[in-house]
């Protein structure tokens, strides 16, 4: 079992606790040295579900137009981190978030950005492909209409271009009115990526996007991620170290310490993989511990 994925975390979220999102006031503009290069500046982020602390005071900057691979063992809060970045934590019962996340210098936890607009800017790809059980076309229509695009031709155009960008157009162009879940798992996942791209986001969050796929589909999705990394900021959670090596420009390793998810080490992929600073990282990369 690949540990707790986003859905099961949301489903099994603790009941009863008060739902709170506590945002600290913005004290100083973060990352003032390189203001253009970081999409997200996370400082002192703590996420808890009732008594369980999933993430404990994490500070991490995520570079623009790069792929940040988030690695670490199961249950160390990697998925919780993704949930914070598009504020899907609002929907987890009993989830309490504190700290500060700046995106384009705006505090997204403090409500400086409308949450639906935030989610339009930040697409999320789930572990298990989840196209709506509707036609392929309708999978695009639904979110696009929600964001005010009603013109049929425009929808058609966006759908075609994103499907082309994900390499799916040739495979599905004759069956756009067929149910999306008749596609193969890999196709479904690429469809989900295309659907997220159709909203012209700045960033894509991917929660182990390949772990439910066969090796060939997995490879196709990886290639897709590589082709997207020039234009989008991508954060990808993965259990697969070699995948992290292949895709990541940056790497963040999380670990479960005293029952709390903590950030062990982060930095450019070459540095983390070739010259890890932390002993834990060394051991983990050698496969000595898991």
């Amino acid at each position: 079992m690949p540990g707790k994925d986003l859905e099961s975390e949301i489903r099994h979220g603790h009941h009863g606790g008060n739902v709170m999102t506590v945002a600290q006031p913005c004290i100083e503009p973060a990352a003032h040295r390189e203001p253009e290069r970081h999409l997200w500046c996370i400082s002192d982020l703590t996420v808890s579900y009732g008594e369980v602390i999933a993430l404990s005071s994490v500070s991490l900057n995520i570079k623009e137009n790069s792929v940040t691979a988030v690695i670490g063992p199961s249950g160390c809060g990697k998925s919780s981190l993704l949930c914070c970045l598009n504020r899907l934590t609002d929907f987890i019962p009993g989830c309490c978030v504190s700290g500060r996340i700046l995106m384009h210098s705006k505090d997204i936890l403090g409500g400086q950005i409308d949450d639906t607009r935030l989610r339009k800017q930040v697409g999320l790809i789930f572990q298990k492909p989840n196209p709506f059980p509707l036609s392929i076309r309708r999978n695009f229509e639904l979110p696009l209409r929600e964001h005010g695009i009603r013109d049929r031709q425009e929808i058609e155009h966006i759908m075609q271009s994103t499907l082309e960008a994900t390499g799916l157009w040739k495979e599905v162009k004759d069956r756009l009115n067929k149910p999306a879940h008749q596609l193969s798992g890999g196709q479904q996942q690429r469809l989900c990526i295309a659907r997220a791209l159709s909203l012209r986001p700045d960033a894509l969050l991917m929660d182990e996007p390949c772990s439910a796929l066969d090796p060939i589909s997995s490879g196709q999705v990886e290639e897709l991620v590589l082709s997207l990394r020039e234009r989008y900021t991508i954060v990808i959670v993965t259990h697969n170290l070699s995948q992290a090596r292949r895709l990541g420009t940056d790497v963040a390793l999380f670990w479960l310490r005293d029952g709390k998810g903590t950030l062990v080490e982060s930095g450019p992929a070459s540095q983390v993989f070739e010259a890890p600073r932390d002993d834990l990282t060394k051991l983990y990369l050698r496969g000595a511990i898991a």
Binding site: N18, V19, M20, T21, D90, F91, P93, G111
Partner: protein
């Protein structure tokens, strides 16, 4: 389900929430509303006749000012009890049969048919009772329309409901428990009696309560075969009149206090329903049971 943080609580109060919430309140207030409408209609009789006389009057002759409901209460109770005495064991037999004894195609077909019979309108059971069953009973003992006929027809009507719920609860007995009993050398029959039925008792209680509720409330089929004479029967071959049949027979021409008295008998039936629902809540303690619908 979704919960939102207090920071965004204001967005929760959307028109949708208000609209759907209003509908839910409306729907859940409906039972109270029905009760108050019936109570309102019954007030005249309760004021004029008083509760006591419904139990102590010589008989039920509304035209001559006699309002004793007891014969009808007894009739309802006897007919329903007779039906349950027949239907409960049969329902249990059907449940054990389809779960443990029937080959699976037979079991599936059997359940499909039982589901079909659960949906047959009561008036058609009544029609069969009137045309087929009553003459047969009349050959045994006149007049045929009797407590026995009503109980038999009613038993047939509630049997599908009881059998379906009993099947559900027998099927939900954990397999390990049954295998453990078999491993301990219990015979199939004693596993049934000592393990399966006690384990399923909660569901069986639900089946009994829902079946009894249906039996008490049923009107048409009973009215067609019970003979409808106001009396406490002395044998199962004598005619009886149930509360619900009494209402259906007299409401068309009842006026003033008489009409109001019929609403009093409806109150009695509502009281029974409240009791049964409370009992059901008590027995199931919710959550513990799979969804069971009275049908």
């Amino acid at each position: 389900m979704y919960l939102r943080s207090p920071a965004r609580a204001s967005t929760v109060l959307s028109p949708m929430l208000i609209g759907a919430g209003a509908l839910a309140l409306l729907a859940s207030a409906l039972i109270a509303f029905i009760f108050f409408v019936v109570l309102g209609e019954a007030m005249a009789a309760l004021g004029e006749i008083g509760l006591w006389r419904f139990l102590t009057d010589a008989s039920w002759h509304p035209s001559s000012g006699e309002f004793n409901l007891l014969p009808m209460v007894a009739g309802t109770g006897l007919v329903a009890a007779g039906a349950m005495v027949l239907a409960m064991p049969l329902g249990l037999i059907a449940a054990v049969f389809v779960t443990f004894y029937a080959p699976s195609p037979v079991a599936t077909a059997y359940l499909r048919l039982i589901e079909l019979f659960a949906g047959i309108p009561s008036v058609l059971y009544g029609l069969w009772g009137l045309v087929v069953l009553v003459p047969i009973i009349a050959d045994l003992a006149a007049p045929g329309s009797s407590l026995l006929a009503a109980s038999l027809v009613l038993a047939l009507m509630v049997l599908p409901t009881i059998a379906l719920i009993a099947t559900m609860s027998v099927r939900s007995v954990p397999l390990e428990r049954i295998q453990a009993a078999r491993a301990l050398g219990f015979t199939k029959a004693s596993t049934m009696v000592k393990i399966v039925i006690p384990s399923a008792r909660k569901g069986l209680a639900v089946a009994a309560i829902l079946g009894a509720g249906r039996a008490v409330g049923e009107t048409m089929a009973v009215m067609m075969v019970a003979g409808n004479i106001v009396q406490v029967p002395e044998s199962i071959f004598e005619p009886v009149r149930t509360l619900s049949a009494n209402i259906a027979l007299e409401i068309a021409y009842a006026m003033d206090v008489h009409r109001s008295a019929l609403f009093v008998s409806a109150l009695v039936m509502i009281a029974f329903v409240v009791l049964a629902t409370a009992l059901l809540e008590f027995v199931t303690n919710k959550q513990a049971m799979p969804d069971v619908h009275p049908d």
